[in-house]
């Protein structure tokens, strides 16, 4: 046991590459649990942030400021009756959510939360991610067909057409980023997720700013396509409530429905991770090459701790502002406990060994968090595209732009 832990701490590669099966399994568990928790947190955050955009309060009842709402929701969904329509194709109906779930969770194997914080590093990493995440289309199609009902069928047709279309533009944008990896001294590019980040480190530039504005345009194309890919507003046609009730998962309920939701949010986090890895320098902290030296290293390594302390402070202010009525005593105590836990985590993050190992994960998560917030922001702001307009944007706008950027990147890469 101890050997294993020390072997881990001494490891300078991912467990998958080291062939360390036990650590790989532990990693998988950690990632799975982490993503599930992140999805729950995202759920709470989305409802809360969306509510504040819309001058509402959002969940306030379960736990202080609705903090326990995701748990209550999970319990509700798990205990809900699981309805399978009579006319449905039972087998396919049953498999569909599992496919979506598997597809969106499998990609986490290659997401590098840090130079060594990934289950494994495939040398076709990005290809693997795109491939596996494209499998979730199957789940959508199967769900829509198996429900044997008009609205889900139309929803799934829309959804699959949309996902396939935007995959093309997305792929093109990704290729131009991959092309940038080959512009280093040795001249060999890579598809490995870790390799891509290392290439950015080596070239001392985030690919977002490389060949400005080419990198930026490719990133923008990807950022739009990824919203469409995950069926989120303003591209949420498959689930367009006002037209198709709930799209492909109209007939689903309870646990199976929650699997769809879990898959959707996991996919959102996954594609955001791709964007962060390819263009925003993955786990690299801001200004890794201009603000160098031990002093700056120390400053940046203190960020995670201070972030948690800040959150703790916000929670503590919430405790103070809680109404002083006996009715709210438990809530106040809960929030105080929450603040204490956050503070404690913040303090732990100041301990030097932890501080150094956690930094990469922190920066990565922070960048992904920005995307998550953008997702919510879009949803609060935009109306929904119509299907033909969506296709037009995908094929006539994004794809030509992405191809143009790809060609220009290639030319610049050869010339420079």
């Amino acid at each position: 046991m101890l050997d294993y832990i020390t072997s881990y701490l001494g490891m300078n590669t991912t467990p998958g590459q080291a062939g360390n099966v036990l650590w790989a399994l532990i990693y998988i568990l950690i990632v799975f649990a982490g993503v599930s928790v992140a999805v729950m947190a995202m759920n709470w955050l989305e409802r809360k942030a969306l509510a504040h955009f819309q001058i509402r309060l959002g969940p306030m009842r379960v736990g202080p400021h609705g903090l326990l709402q995701p748990i209550a929701d999970a319990v509700k969904l798990l205990t809900k009756e699981d309805i399978i329509p009579d006319e449905a194709d039972r087998l396919v109906f049953w498999i569909a959510p599992l496919i979506i779930l598997c597809a969106s969770f499998t990609v986490y194997i290659v997401i590098p939360f840090g130079p060594t914080h990934a289950v494994t590093d495939l040398n076709i990493g990005i290809l693997f991610m795109l491939g596996v995440s494209s499998l979730s289309v199957l789940g959508v199609v199967m769900a829509g067909w198996a429900s044997n009902s008009h609205y889900p069928l139309i929803g799934s047709l829309r959804s699959s057409a949309q996902m396939i279309s935007y995959e093309v533009a997305m792929g093109m944008a990704v290729v131009s980023a991959i092309l940038m990896t080959s512009l280093n001294k040795s001249g060999t590019g890579t598809l490995s997720m870790i390799g891509i980040v290392e290439a950015q480190q080596q070239q001392q530039i985030w690919f977002l700013f490389k060949f400005f504005p080419l990198g930026f345009i490719a990133f923008a194309v990807f950022a739009i396509a990824m919203v469409a890919e995950t069926n989120r507003a303003p591209f949420d046609l498959p689930e367009a409530e006002s037209e198709l009730t709930a799209g492909f998962h109209t007939e689903y309920s309870g646990l199976r429905w929650s699997l769809f939701m879990l898959g959707e949010y996991a996919a959102m986090i996954a594609v955001s991770s791709i964007a962060v890895t390819l263009w925003l320098g993955g786990w690299l902290r801001p200004f890794p090459n201009t603000l160098t030296g031990p002093a700056w290293d120390l400053v940046f390594s203190l960020f995670p701790g201070f972030t948690f302390l800040g959150l703790a402070l916000i929670a503590f202010i919430g405790v103070i502002r809680m109404p002083k009525h006996p009715y709210f005593r438990i809530q106040t105590m809960g929030l105080a406990g929450f603040a204490a836990v956050l503070g404690l985590i913040g303090l732990i993050l100041f301990i030097p060994p932890v501080r150094d190992r956690i930094q990469d994960i922190f920066w990565f998560t922070a960048k992904v968090g920005v995307f998550m917030y953008l997702y919510i922001w879009y949803r609060a702001t935009f109306p929904r595209y119509r299907f033909d307009q969506l296709m037009k944007v995908g094929w006539k706008v994004l794809l030509p732009i992405a191809i143009g950027v790809l060609i220009l990147t290639a030319i610049l890469g050869v010339v420079l």
Binding site: V92, F128, L130, S160, T188, L191
Partner: protein, 169 residues
Amino acid sequence: MQPVATTFFFYFLSGLTLLSGVLVITRKNPVHSALALILGLLAQAGLYLMLYAPFVAGVQIILYAGGIMVLFLFVIMLVNIERSQKEEQFNKQWLIGMLSAGALGALFVLVYTKGSGLFPASMAVPVESNNTQQVGVMLYGQYMFAFEIASLLLLVAIIGAVVMAKRRI
């Protein structure tokens, strides 16, 4: 990376491929057939991985399982499934089928018994780490002409499909 339980995975994936192949032709419901086909394609991708060809495996998943099969499903969903379920599963050309299957089997046996000397040995030592580059170099170097012909063929196919599908252009 050390291969793990190679023999087991080989037989597992091969069995899966065969099983799904059988399911594809025996299922009455075309959607089930298509799903079985997807399973078969995924198992094949696994086999490619075992052959140290991760790029091909990845492309197999993206293009076949993720792209083409979805279009298959698309079309199947839109046709009338009740009618296709009533139709007879196998048509009457079993003799031709038997003959061609036998010929294929004979070819496999031939390759299996005499095959060791038929292929150049240098092809069999790919390096996993730069597999993708190798594919690229091969494709755009040695096999450039074949690649271009294939792309031309595909272009013709696309135009032909458009012409056939759209009666009025």
